[in-house]
Amino acid sequence: MEQAALFAPPALTVSQITAYLRQLLEGDEILRDIWVLGEVSNLSRPSSGHVYFTLKDASASLRCVIWRTTVQRLRVTLNNGTAVEAHGYIGVYERDGQYQLYIDTLRLAGEGWLYQEFLRLKARLEAEGLFDQARKRPVPTRPRTIGIVTSSTGAALQDILNTLAGRYPLVEVVVAPAAVQGDEAPVEIVRALQRLNRQIQPDVILLARGGGSLEDLWAFNDERVVRTIVASRAPVITGIGHETDFTLSDFAADLRAPTPTGAAVLATPSLADLRGELRSALTLLDGALLARLDTARQRLVDVHYRLDRLSPRRQVQNDRQRLDELQERVRRAMISGGQLRRARLKGQQQRLSALNPLAVMQRGFALVQAPDGRLLGSIHQVNPGADVSVRLRDGSFGATVKQINPVEGKDESHG
């Protein structure tokens, strides 16, 4: 044993043992993630913004720290004596050799029970199909009337009205006031929803409430409220609490917005969107008319072209041309016809004048006539001694045939 003492490890410093303990505690699986139930005492809020207190029960106490950044996030008001459930990890404050709970989440005691209740009801209603997506109705994009169920004095109503006025002032808003917190709240919310549906029949209903503790929002987990939302004729948009809050009303609603303002946004198009939509509709309108006019113009051109080809005017032009040709031919025919006749006439005249015996006599020929006036054309018509009359150009004289001398080789007796 004495040998052992000789080789004993050197004593640890306080810092070393404290660091070791810290390591041990902070490495523990259970201590890293625990809920602790107790009553607040020795509450201290120094100017640093961090909050210090001791959680106590009948027989023990636990030092607790909430860092400033966590304090700002918590929505619980702490007082000495408040029973709370705190969540966090166990760590060591080395200077004081003190283990303590570093809190990241904190709720009022009883909220844990509420939460269990919440889960149980949620499971039951879910099994009934009340939260089915298939059951949910589409929310109109362009509501004419919006019903609002919320407190008439809360900031939620003002937020919604401001948002609606800025986005979509075309809508008519009917507010059905209801308490949104306290024992009366579920009944009032149910009644407000039912009255809106019966008396106004809005296109959509906004069910809203500003942020609060789980207890504050409890009315929206009431089974009657959930069933009224499901039964509502108008689709329901919820905007309850903050981003992280989910109530059974949110699950039952046709659309869930994180906040009241968000609900107003989901319920309406924005003016900017509407103006854009209107502009594009106008563009389409202009385009459609221009296209229509283009088509009409093109058809007109086509038809006009076809008409032109079939036009009687063209026929008339053709005919006129043909007529011109015919006239030309006639003219030519007439011209050539006249010349021909004239030439023929001349020929006839020449023949006629060639036959005129007087013309022959001009050239010194004579006509010999029998006493009965017969023209004598052959020696066989006379005998010697016959009296004849000889006619010359300028008169006639009587003569007597002395002898007959036929022309050599020419016997005209048969002619």
């Binding site: 507010v175 209107l278 229509r292």
Partner: protein
């Protein structure tokens, strides 16, 4: 509901815009005579003017649901849809 017989000044924004979309589709459909198309176009422009005017001058109307307000008869349901 067919709003095309109603003067544009009496139409709500939704009615006017819905009819404007109908007019555009009808014009694009090209089934109309030119005269009908021009009439449609003029109607469309009037509808667009009506919409713009309503957007420019709209003010949110808010009222509180009063106890005395009569309940609407159930038969209204079906007509309400369109």
């Amino acid at each position: 509901m067919d709003s095309s017989q109603i003067p544009v000044e009496e139409l709500s924004y939704e009615q006017a815009f819905e009819e404007l979309e109908t007019v555009v589709s009808a014009l694009e459909g090209d089934q109309k005579t030119l005269e009908e198309s021009l009439a449609l176009f003029e109607r469309g422009q009037a509808l667009a003017r009506r919409c713009a005017e309503l957007l420019d001058h709209a003010e949110l109307r808010v009222r509180k649901l009063s106890e005395e307000e009569p309940e609407l008869p159930e038969e209204m349901d079906e007509e309400e849809g369109d």
